[in-house]
């Protein structure tokens, strides 16, 4: 009863809170979900660079493998992007 009265007084309804929660959740989902892939891709690039510096003649193969590995480790980031998009546009 008290809560209802308060919400009438301030003009904030349940739908507004749900909307705010949606945006916060999408932002958090993308922000936290981007940490892992970013670290993983940086690690892959660093080690590929190590290998290239040691054996410059292997550059082509290392680059190709690095790109594949980065694309695969990127998958979790893409999943969190999809969840953020679903939160924003579908839910």
């Amino acid at each position: 009863m008290l809560q209802e009265a308060q919400s009438v007084a301030t003009g904030i309804s349940g739908a507004d809170i749900a909307l705010a929660a949606k945006y916060i959740a999408a932002g958090l989902c993308m922000g936290i979900g981007a940490i892992g892939p970013a670290l993983a891709e940086g690690l892959a690039a660093a080690h590929a660079l190590d290998g290239m510096a040691r054996q410059p003649e292997m550059q082509g193969a290392l680059l190709r493998t690095m790109v594949i590995g980065q694309a695969i480790s990127e998958t979790t980031g893409i999943y969190s992007l999809l969840i953020a998009i679903v939160l924003l546009f579908v839910v």
């Binding site: 594949i68 694309a71 893409i78 992007l81 998009i85």
Partner: protein
């Protein structure tokens, strides 16, 4: 100009859906994705016809400019994509498919740089169709190379109780394959549109288009094709 751009932001993420009622059930089409994939197909066919006209007959003669460029293109496709196949026989067999997949995804990703056109690959149905194609081809090749008995036995490797995990892993392959391309292209499109509308309508689009269209589009097309190669390799390997 600014009102038109604001309209773009309002319709971001929306789709034009055509519904075809057939007896009891409905079939839904994403009109824009269908039109754009046909535009890409027609573009590729016209390019191929135009390039073929530039060839000097017979082909064994001294190559002209177009011929040299096409030779370089085929060499790149062969060296970067088809050479990753496990065996020479597989590479010769799958080279046309993998190259077609790569060129289609590449042109699809790049076509969103043209104003008023959108990538067909920013629709999940298109990427999922491509991923399912790779999935079916890899399993058919697996049966053809290993035989039905060894193909079925492959699901129970290394232990019999791993069967559910192996099946889930097989189903997850086309899903992650499709979502990866879709998510990357969609994120690029959203970012370009939002930055263009909200911050800098004139300066930002070319720069962002170079980063997201040319660079990431090319990388993602390459990754899509090379993952198809990897999935087929894993499926047929002894």
């Amino acid at each position: 100009m600014f009102e038109q751009l604001a309209g773009m932001l309002e319709h971001l993420g929306q789709k034009r859906i055509a519904v075809l009622s057939l007896g009891g059930f409905e079939i839904r089409f994403d009109v824009m994705a269908m039109i754009m994939s046909w535009v890409v197909i027609v573009l590729l066919i016209l390019l191929a016809l135009w390039l073929r006209r530039g060839l000097r007959q017979p082909v064994e003669e001294k190559p002209n400019r177009i011929q040299a460029a096409l030779d370089a293109l085929v060499d790149i496709l062969k060296g970067q994509l088809a050479d990753n196949f496990a065996s020479e026989r597989l590479a010769i067999m799958m080279f046309p498919f993998i190259s077609t997949l790569f060129l289609y995804v590449l042109v699809s990703n790049w076509i969103s740089m043209v104003p008023y056109l959108s990538s067909p690959t920013q629709d999940l149905n298109v990427t999922f169709g491509l991923a399912l194609m790779v999935f079916i081809i890899s399993h058919v090749l697996s049966i053809r190379f290993k035989g039905v008995r060894r193909y079925l036995k492959g699901f129970a490797e290394p232990y019999a109780f791993m069967l559910p995990i192996n099946i889930v892993g097989e189903i997850a392959k086309p899903m992650s394959h499709a979502f990866r391309l879709f998510g990357n292209v969609l994120a690029g499109t959203f970012l370009v549109t939002v930055v263009m509308v909200k911050f800098a309508p004139i300066i930002a689009p070319p720069v962002l288009n170079i980063i997201f269209g040319l660079f990431f589009g090319g990388i993602q097309a390459f990754v899509f094709a090379i993952l198809a190669v990897a999935y087929i390799n894993v499926a047929v390997e002894e």
